[in-house]
Point group: C2
Chain length 212, copies 2
Amino acid sequence: MTHEAKTVSEQTRERLLDAAREAFSQHGFQGATVREICRRAEANVAAVNYHFGNKDGLLAEALNFAPLKAMQLANAKADGNPEVRLRLFIRDFMLMLLDETNGSLPCRIMARELADPTPALDKIVREAIAPLHDFLGKLLREIAGGKTGEAELRRCMHSILGQCLYYRHSHPVLQRLHPKLRYDHKKIETIAEHIADFSLAGIGYISGKTCA
Amino acid sequence: MTHEAKTVSEQTRERLLDAAREAFSQHGFQGATVREICRRAEANVAAVNYHFGNKDGLLAEALNFAPLKAMQLANAKADGNPEVRLRLFIRDFMLMLLDETNGSLPCRIMARELADPTPALDKIVREAIAPLHDFLGKLLREIAGGKTGEAELRRCMHSILGQCLYYRHSHPVLQRLHPKLRYDHKKIETIAEHIADFSLAGIGYISGKTCA
DNA sequence: GAGCGTATCAAACGTTTGTTTGAATGTAAA
DNA sequence: TTTACATTCAAACAAACGTTTGATACGCTC
């Protein structure tokens, strides 16, 4: 009874979380309304406050950084070549940000809340972004070599993250500029490949500058 | 009387516009409230609707793309070396996005509204972003040479804009990761220089790939 | 100074928001 | 079946929002 079948209460909890992830990733925390979330979850308006205390609690529980951490773990165990691992990281990260079929909405919620501080931003920074920066920083250190300064390396990291996040943040604009635009799996990989090529060349130049 | 001294009505109009630019760039269009704007402009709540019809009208008039266009015009007339002109563009763009003393808030409002469609987004795209893309596209074409494909060139443009916008979009997060962080004129130029170095190396690699 | 159009004001409007309430319903043990 | 608790529900709550109103004060022309 504690193990197998989910109680009906746990089912509505999960329906609420799913609907919340959808709504938050689409309209942001402020833009998404409790009523709309409950409607999509086929639950009563009071359900959010009963199960999660309030809207903030719903956001906190809707965030799930497991896919992001799993991605980093798998990457660390992959082929030892750091440049290939950077390519893999960029590809996986872009898929999380753009691929509709991926289902990793928490990553897209995160991206949305970067610019617009939310009650949950401290938790997001602490549990997701800081570890991500650590991971990517170490990976770039392997590629750039020990001579490259800490500040230069961090700027390279920002250059990579900036390129990736751009496609998510500016999607409404790019959609208006190129109405026929749609990101399928193939197109995402092409973009990821470009970012990797572009960035590896950039890192090579930056790290070479200080070594020369 | 039509030329020199501003009527008291025009003064409150300008106070409202200034307060609106401040509020929209800080809290976004949704987050900023008409009441807060009027309070900071020392005007009555009804002033917005009297002078601009409604909140949307206030946003539309608060946007001013003149600085952005002037920057592009000055850039086009500058030193003919396209690589130097790209460096200049990145520097000026970053100053608009980050420098507090610059006063080009419309640029920061624009950056904020990229991800969150607003009643004015269509106007922003048509009058500011599309021309900006044209300008930057042509500049990159000069640098990359005629052999580089249109798609590759556009992706390079996205790489550059992504790097620049990252520092604006992720400012709340970077602030939390490095609490001592503050962008002064000197620091912004250092970042702009990095982005230019990083990107020119990237463009060199991308354009070389297709020419080889 | 009278008259007129413009601009400002306090106050209220109608909605929408997140949240709370108390009754009704469901679930599971005694 | 009865009892006790957990969950759902319709309804209402208080607060905040953009907007409207009608009266008041101002600036200008005649």
